[in-house]
């Protein structure tokens, strides 16, 4: 199977063989540079899919590949962000953003020496998500939306080829969420990074994604795969257009079906 991220016939159970399956016969392929969204009933294995694709969990059956290689250890070329921003409260926003560079090679070796250059990179990222000048603030001084932006920067700072977003905007109010849609849209357009977005929000999925995967109830597998062809760059106005709403409506039908 070809693709930048592929899962083929993947089965996984957290408790080991014989325990209840989280996903089963999960097969999908995501192209390089693609923006993929995964939707499905809760507990169906969406987060499990993310863990399998980043090498945090390994399948019982089937194969997972990323960038052409079978995943047998943490992939290191991925950045992740979750619903909880999980910023470290004792670090400033900028130092939070720099954290991955203290872990991942080759930056890990260089960061002490090239701190100034890395700070510049982090500051540029912060500016890109609308957090210019917030680098010296501590997380508790930031609103929820700003923390999420910082968390995105942390996911992006090591220039990952793959960005994994697991319900990143679930805790935000509707306006902030739409602002962040645009932030993600622009990041994707500017960097060409491959993105996998798990979400409950079907409008979010349709607005952002090139392709949407609908998962079945546990044990999860792909029920429906939907190409979204609205031209880019997409504007928030699109979300009020009839074809958009039809698409959301159709997906909703699939989810209702999946929950049965």
């Amino acid at each position: 199977m070809r693709g930048f991220v592929t899962l083929e016939g993947v089965r996984h159970a957290y408790g080991g063989a014989g325990t209840q399956l989280a996903v089963d016969n999960l097969t999908l392929a995501i192209e390089k540079g693609e923006f993929a969204a995964v939707v499905g009933p809760s507990g169906c294995g969406k987060s499990t899919l993310m863990k399998l694709a980043t090498g945090l969990q390994f399948p019982q059956n089937g194969v997972v590949t990323v960038a052409g290689e079978v995943v047998e250890k943490p992939v290191k070329i991925a950045g992740m962000a979750f619903q909880a921003p999980t910023l470290l409260p004792w670090r400033t926003t900028l130092d939070n953003v720099l954290l991955p560079l203290e872990i991942v090679e080759p930056h890990r070796k260089r960061i002490r020496r090239d701190r100034a250059a890395y700070r510049e990179r982090a500051e540029a990222l912060l500016a890109q998500v609308g957090l210019d000048g917030a680098g010296d603030k501590f997380p508790w001084e930031l609103s929820g939306g700003m923390q999420m932006r910082a968390s995105l920067c942390r996911a992006l700072v090591h220039e990952p080829q793959l960005l994994m977003l697991d319900e990143p905007f679930g805790a935000l109010d509707a306006f902030t969420r739409e602002e962040l849609w645009c932030v993600i849209r622009d990041i994707h357009a500017a960097s060409g990074v491959t993105i996998i977005l798990v979400t409950h929000d079907l409008r979010e999925a349709v607005f952002l994604a090139d392709r949407i995967f609908v998962m079945s109830a546990r044990p999860g597998h792909i029920l429906v795969e939907k190409q979204i062809d609205f031209p880019r760059p997409r504007d928030l106005e699109l979300t009020y257009a009839a074809p958009f709403q039809d698409m959301v409506h159709e997906l909703r039908g699939h989810i209702v079906e999946a929950r049965k």
Partner: protein, 257 residues
């Protein structure tokens, strides 16, 4: 600001108020001094026996601090070990609870058997009684790292040691410094218990002797000295906590006791 002044004056007002009530109660109800001596008599005893009190209180402070410092070292090490993995945490936690459930007074006779009477049993009792909260707090701080954050770092290839250094240990610090306040208080309990059972020195022993000689004001003087030492050390720990982990008091989600 009058309110902040009032808040700062309040502890003193209450202490003085308590002393006044105490003195008045003794006078009004004609309580004999061998039952409850008035504060003035206690103050008199402190002055009269100052040399002994001074020496014995330093002795107690010494054994307490020695036991406490041992507890800090050992508690940190064991806490790091237990908090290192959730499996170790789950396995050793019940054992720790069981250990803590043993009343430490019961251990003193064994310590005397092994080490004789004096400073050593006092130090060890102080250590035994005070290391538990340190271990539990450090281990809890480490073991309750958000799984998502761990995933973020693991996906980058972070080792367990990386995660501990970057997240676990800084995160456990407020728990650790918070536990020191509890630990120092308990350390005094341990050393004084041991001194009053098995020592020729220390405030515990001084009070026991005062009791056998019916010097009731001196017993109370011993209590006052212990209170002063306890409060002073508690204040030092509280100050240290604030100094080292100020960030934890700004952000939510961190317990400190």
């Amino acid at each position: 600001m009058p309110t902040s002044l009032a808040i700062r004056a309040a502890p003193w007002v209450f202490v003085i108020g308590m002393l006044v009530v105490w003195q008045a109660a003794v006078a009004i109800f004609a309580i004999p001094p061998f039952v409850l001596p008035p504060p003035t008599a206690v103050a008199g005893a402190i002055v009269q026996y100052w040399n002994a009190i001074w020496y014995e209180s330093l002795f107690t402070l010494g054994t307490t601090m020695a036991g406490f410092l041992l507890a800090v070292g050992f508690g940190l090490a064991l806490g790091l070990f237990i908090g290192w993995s959730r499996t170790i945490y789950a396995g050793l936690y019940p054992l720790m609870i069981g250990f803590n459930a043993v009343p430490k007074v019961a251990v003193v006779p064994i310590l005397v058997l092994w080490f004789g009477i004096g400073a050593v049993p006092a130090i060890i009792t102080a250590f035994l009684i005070s290391f538990f909260p340190i271990v539990v707090n450090v281990a809890t701080g480490l073991a309750t790292i958000e799984p998502e954050l761990e995933d973020v770092l693991k996906a980058l290839g972070a080792s367990k040691l990386d995660i501990m250094r970057k997240v676990g240990i800084p995160r456990a610090l407020p728990y650790f410094f918070g536990s020191l306040k509890i630990a120092i208080t308990l350390a005094f309990v341990g050393s004084v218990i041991s001194e009053s059972i098995a020592s020729n020195h220390g405030i515990g022993n001084l009070m026991l002797q005062a009791q056998s000689q019916f010097k009731v004001p001196l017993i109370f003087a011993g209590l006052v000295v212990l209170a002063v030492e306890g409060i002073a050390m508690y204040a030092v720990m509280a100050w240290l906590e604030k100094r080292m982990t100020g960030w934890a008091h700004r952000s939510t989600g961190f317990a400190s006791s």
